[in-house]
Symmetry: C2
Subunit: 392 residues, 2 copies
Amino acid sequence: LENLPFGVFVRPGHRPRIGVAIGDHVLAMGVVAELGLLPPHVPPKVFRRETLNEYLGLGPDTWESVRSRLTELLTIGNQELVPHEGSALIPSNRVDMVLPVEVGDFVDFYSSRYHAENVGRILRPNEASLPPAWLHLPIGYHGRAGTVVVGGTPIRRPRGQRGADDVGPTRKLDFELEVGFLTGPGNRLGEPIPITEAQKHVFGLVLVNDWSARDLQAFESRPLGPFLGKSFATSISPWVVPLEALRPFRFTPPVGDPAPAAYMRDPSPWSLDLELEVLLRRDGTDTRVCRSNYRYMQWTITQQLAHVTSNGAIARPGDLFASGTVSGPGEAEMGSLLESTFDGSRPLPLDDGSSLSYLEDGDEVVMRGWAAKGDARLGFGEVSGRILPAHG
Amino acid sequence: LENLPFGVFVRPGHRPRIGVAIGDHVLAMGVVAELGLLPPHVPPKVFRRETLNEYLGLGPDTWESVRSRLTELLTIGNQELVPHEGSALIPSNRVDMVLPVEVGDFVDFYSSRYHAENVGRILRPNEASLPPAWLHLPIGYHGRAGTVVVGGTPIRRPRGQRGADDVGPTRKLDFELEVGFLTGPGNRLGEPIPITEAQKHVFGLVLVNDWSARDLQAFESRPLGPFLGKSFATSISPWVVPLEALRPFRFTPPVGDPAPAAYMRDPSPWSLDLELEVLLRRDGTDTRVCRSNYRYMQWTITQQLAHVTSNGAIARPGDLFASGTVSGPGEAEMGSLLESTFDGSRPLPLDDGSSLSYLEDGDEVVMRGWAAKGDARLGFGEVSGRILPAHG
């Protein structure tokens, strides 16, 4: 009841509908709206849509009033929903989840210093491990929004140029453990979002698996950055956890050194303590291959959003901003195989007796997240994907 | 009548509508469709939309039948439209043009060898001027789709990090002369578009000004490529010229050396002979600062689309693929100020007596294109933008 994550579900033969997860049921928000059970200023039509975008565009006051009202409706003793439970509450095992938003733009940051330094050491051993601008701004790039898929979608091993005159299925298929946020109302072109306002534009968070083909990526990415090595697929968890639900798990992060530029100095900075893990499922056996925490990110959500709009670029309802690989300082905390296997050269042992360098056909990657503090615990859902063999 | 470009127009107090330019009038396609004057298999509803996306999704057979029918309707002697001219044909000077598509994903290539070598020599003088993969694949990256604007939109000078501890309005605001194509139906995730099919997915072309802030770009772009140095705005021409209209201006380009990988070998390769120019308008005086031609691009449209989907990534109706700066071999053929002023160090003389290193507030950049062959001539419209001073 503290979570109330939003998603979009489908029942066979029906069109996609907006839902809120509650225990092992999904609350059909369209039904709740039609029944007149939501606050009167919330336009019911936003819950007739097949994505969350229009709802995200309504902004934090509306999100908060809907959240309060749902809490009321779902509290034991409240009778308002009881006569309608048959139509409003659907068992989760009878629905499939689809992509919750139409992603407008997809930005992928690079905000774990541990990850950036690991990657620098492995891929550019003759340069400084941290890129020149890394300490001054949250480095990022745009990914392909059209290939963001919902968790559970099988991932076809991509083909591509692994080097000069070497075309074929990638030999270095990898995952990246990330956390993303989805924006709400957004700004007008040419008018940056001040860092003090940034939080109002963030609806909620998802888990992100930024699938990567390291050989394609290495060959293509100078000087314009990753392209086809990333663009074949990015998976996000089906349930969007509202930022509001994560409030108990906030903490005050250390100020960066050097101090960030004025436009990224948050007078009330916060980050989130989110536990994360990656399981590799092979032949029915799960092996945990990473355990990390979102708190390791050096650049915060408000800094990222203030930075990305600082040049006047807009954020829109449904834009996705991913953190970059959430790697920590420990050997077991590396959020990609590039790091944890040192580019495939130091395979990880799996619990079924085999070993893992890069992903093999049939492997399934399952990422999970949760927050815990004292008695409070909040599940963050999971994002999974199984590797299909390359075509042809 | 050979052109019949598509766009979206607005009259004061009305909602945006799809139109086709014909002389100094705009043909309101929604009206033509409602009158039942289009082929019966073309769903009229696609012309009630406020963008071209749904029409683009219908594919080349539909585009061709609509084009044939419009040619018929607009030929002198045809009487079918005559009774409806008042509602169907609107003087161009009574409408404003808006963005013709909702851009799904925006890819920017780097396909002029002259441009890539110029930039390499200027920005990376100690490295090979051509990046390692350049001859093997069309290098590109994703830009910010949400900040693609229609030509005529004023461009606010962006602020940003010009270097370490140096935040302020860009001092190196530049244009890039480009040509883009908009895709139609597209493919399914995981299923590349073969190069022999690529042409069927291309609806038409626009002019593109890929505005760039060179100081921001230089500081931020290692290792993930351009980000805020580009994302503040990209302008496209309001009228989309159908690929079909450009057929007379095709030519067979030379095969690359080394020969492209099999998936980019087009059995019937073609490129386009499109004349391009850039005018700099300052204090009412126009100076031509670049004259180039799209034929200089080494990677073709079909190669670009085959490449970008070769890893299984999808193209969707309304995705924008820009060529990269169209620079030629001559000094007057450089499509950006980075090149033609050697990063601002060799200012260009302007016809008003002043000089141009990078863009100044108040400067207007006007890009124009046309095709000409024998008696055939086809205007490609223009894309313009005037620089507003930075905020704050």
